[in-house]
């Protein structure tokens, strides 16, 4: 007990030096935590986005994820509605599942006949009501207002396209897409005009450049190999997160998609999306789903994939932020190490005679070591805790400012939040880490102090 009291009083003795060390520690700890809070916010926003759009788990043909982009319809899941019922009626799954919904993804060509343009697209059919339900998921209580999926309640031929698709298909004006550049008009060729009869023929063949009707024709390969076309009414051009996807995305009702791809044949889907109440239930749900697939659809070669496998960009982003966090921790930890070490070294020099006195009255070397290490520990603890309090304060100020930013892969600006007090593991880990660094920093000066010869220490001027 005397060691702790002595250590505390020694720290209070040179208040200015202790305060500057504590300040360095607190600012260091706060910096780590603020970045950690920012990084946590990004992770949760991304995770929420992915889980809202694709669920936690997806049941797919085991090869669809790797090879399905070449020929999606070849990997359709038959009797998917039966499978969906099994999942929803399963004793253990029904308690943790919020949505089970099928989707169908296929390649096609979308054309705007009136504008005379077309492009290849990736079309996805959804059950609109389920999508809206999935968009309500908010495990991390983020202040994200879910965008309404406009296909719910829309006509069966309604469709949504990416803004890139709208641009290429010259639908921007009619869909009211902002910031959608039009191609430069070709200059009129100089020279002799066409003969009147040929010019008349040319006008008859040239479609109008823009259309007042936002309709597209979607051409897709029928499952049996023949082409099929559906005329869709584009109700919205919506920015998709990535430009590459924004340029090819066409979203339509599942029933419409199935009609286009399978005609009158029994419809299939390429995925069954499963959304859970909590992400922590993924492991148990996966085990149970695999068991259901094995018993109910053993011949379909189905697999259960989690959202991390399906979205490698998320995993890469999380790893990137974790690496940066680690780098910042090491950087600030090094500064803390040298700051505390410098403080303790100065304390040893200043208190050399005291060290000699303590040793003379019978304190062992280990007692001297303990005294200085405890001082380092107290510096580290108070500094790290002050840093945590500072970080929480800064976070609360920033979180109230209503700042937004556009994260990678997002189609809309999202709130810029610092999640610190919710991240107890990060806060405690950082605090403990910095305290350990402070203790480590004090170790060498403490060791040096303990090794001083008593007579030399007493003679020190």
């Amino acid at each position: 007990m005397m060691t702790w009291s002595l250590a505390l009083r020694n720290l209070l003795r040179n208040r200015r030096r202790s305060l500057s060390t504590l300040l360095a520690l607190a600012v260091g700890a706060a910096s780590i935590l603020i970045f950690g809070g920012y990084s946590a916010n990004i992770k949760y926003i991304m995770k929420t986005g992915y889980v809202r759009s694709g669920g936690h788990l997806q049941i797919q043909h085991q090869d669809f994820f790797l090879y399905g982009s070449g020929n999606p319809t070849a990997y359709g899941i038959p009797d998917y509605d039966q499978l969906q019922k099994f999942i929803l009626n399963d004793e253990s799954l029904r308690k943790i599942v919020t949505v089970v919904t099928p989707t169908l993804q296929f390649d096609g060509v979308a054309g705007n006949f009136t504008a005379g343009v077309s492009r290849t697209v990736i079309a996805t059919g959804f059950v609109a009501a389920d999508v809206n339900q999935m968009r309500q998921w908010n495990e991390f209580a983020l202040p994200l207002v879910p965008l309404r999926f406009v296909l719910e309640g829309a006509t069966p031929d309604a469709a949504i396209v990416g803004t890139g698709v709208a641009r290429v298909l010259r639908l921007c004006e009619v869909l009211g897409v902002a910031n959608c550049p039009s191609p430069a008009k070709e200059p009129k060729p100089a020279g002799t005009a066409l003969p009147a009869d040929i010019a008349q023929l040319s006008i008859a063949e040239t479609p109008a450049v823009t259309s007042r009707e936002p309709r597209i024709e979607l051409l897709a390969g029928h499952a049996n190999g023949t082409p099929n076309v559906a005329s869709l009414n584009v109700v919205l051009a919506e920015r998709q997160g990535f430009k590459e996807f924004d340029e090819v995305a066409v979203i339509l009702h599942l029933a419409q998609a199935q009609k286009l791809v399978y005609g009158r044949a029994p419809p299939r889907v390429t995925s069954i999306m499963v959304q859970l109440e909590h992400s922590s239930q993924m492991e148990n749900a996966t085990i149970r789903l695999k068991s259901i697939l094995l018993s109910k659809a053993p011949k379909n070669s189905l697999a259960v994939l989690d959202f991390e496998t399906l979205n490698p960009f998320y995993v890469q982003t999380v790893k990137l932020f974790d690496t940066i966090f680690g780098f910042i921790f090491v950087l600030i930890g090094s500064i803390v190490l040298f700051t505390v070490s410098n403080t303790m070294n100065a304390a040893v020099v200043e208190r050399t005679v005291e060290i000699g006195t303590l040793r003379a009255v019978g304190l062992r070397q280990s007692g001297i070591r303990r005294l200085f290490v405890v001082e380092g520990f107290l510096l580290g603890l108070v500094g790290a805790l002050a840093g945590a309090i500072l970080a929480v304060f800064v976070a609360s100020v920033i979180n109230r400012m209503g700042l937004t930013w556009l994260p990678p892969g997002s189609s809309e600006p999202l709130p810029l939040l610092l999640r610190i007090k919710e991240e107890t593991a990060m806060v405690s880990g950082t605090t403990i880490g910095l305290v350990l660094i402070a203790v480590l920093s004090a170790w060498w000066p403490a060791y040096r102090a303990a090794r001083l010869r008593v007579v030399d220490a007493l003679r020190h001027v």
């Binding site: 002595l6 003795r13 005679v353 006195t357 303590l358 019978g362 304190l363």
Partner: protein, 267 residues
Amino acid sequence: MLLAEMAHDRAVDALRSLMTEPVAVLRQVEKTYLMDSVSVPVIQGVSILVRPAHFTVLLGPSGSGKTTLLNMLGCIDKPDSGDVEVAGCAVNKLSDDALSDFRAANIGFIFQNFNLLPVLNAYENIEYPLVLAGMAPKRRHDRVTKLLEAVGLLDKARNLPGQLSGGQRQRVAIARALSRKPKLVIADEPTANLDSKTGAAILALMRHMQMRYKISFIFSSHDRDVIGAADDLIYLRDGKIQEIRRKRSKIDDSTGSKAFQDTGPEP
């Protein structure tokens, strides 16, 4: 006939005093310091014994080796050769931890600069060695209070060293040195940083405490005025014993005071 009997009595007293088990013994101790690659012998073949419950004064000019000798007796320095025995223990064979424990239990220190811990008040400074010894709080409190009373600082118990005068600080240091009832108290020029009046008072206090607690004090000084307080005098010069004079332990009937006698060479 009467003079012959008196001389005999004195010789017997002196012998009896010397035969009492000494509290510390140095035998043929040598110590050399290396200063800028030059060997400087500071103690050369010194042998002395320190009698129990006596007030021994080491006298000698600066650089005569008094502090080095005290450091070895206080077990905070080791000789290059020779033996050091304190309280019956061959201390130069002990490990560092064992020496620390030994010092805590057997030796008290009074320093020229007082060396109180500035963050502890007078009470806590005296208490500190008792905390190290693991003494129960109640016993600690009783002992510290008695010591504070004995050195006349009960009313200054809560004062930090910085709030005490030089003389008061040295009183606290004396109380701290005595707190664990050591067998030997080492005092290295304890009055050097005090004015003559305060120095005399501190000397008187140390003498009083030494007699009260029956502890051996060994005290270094280059001031010949302290001779009157000493039981034994050891004169050092250039790292060698020049002379040892010991007072008879018994009051001389004829003079009513103690008298020094040269006891000859030490073991």
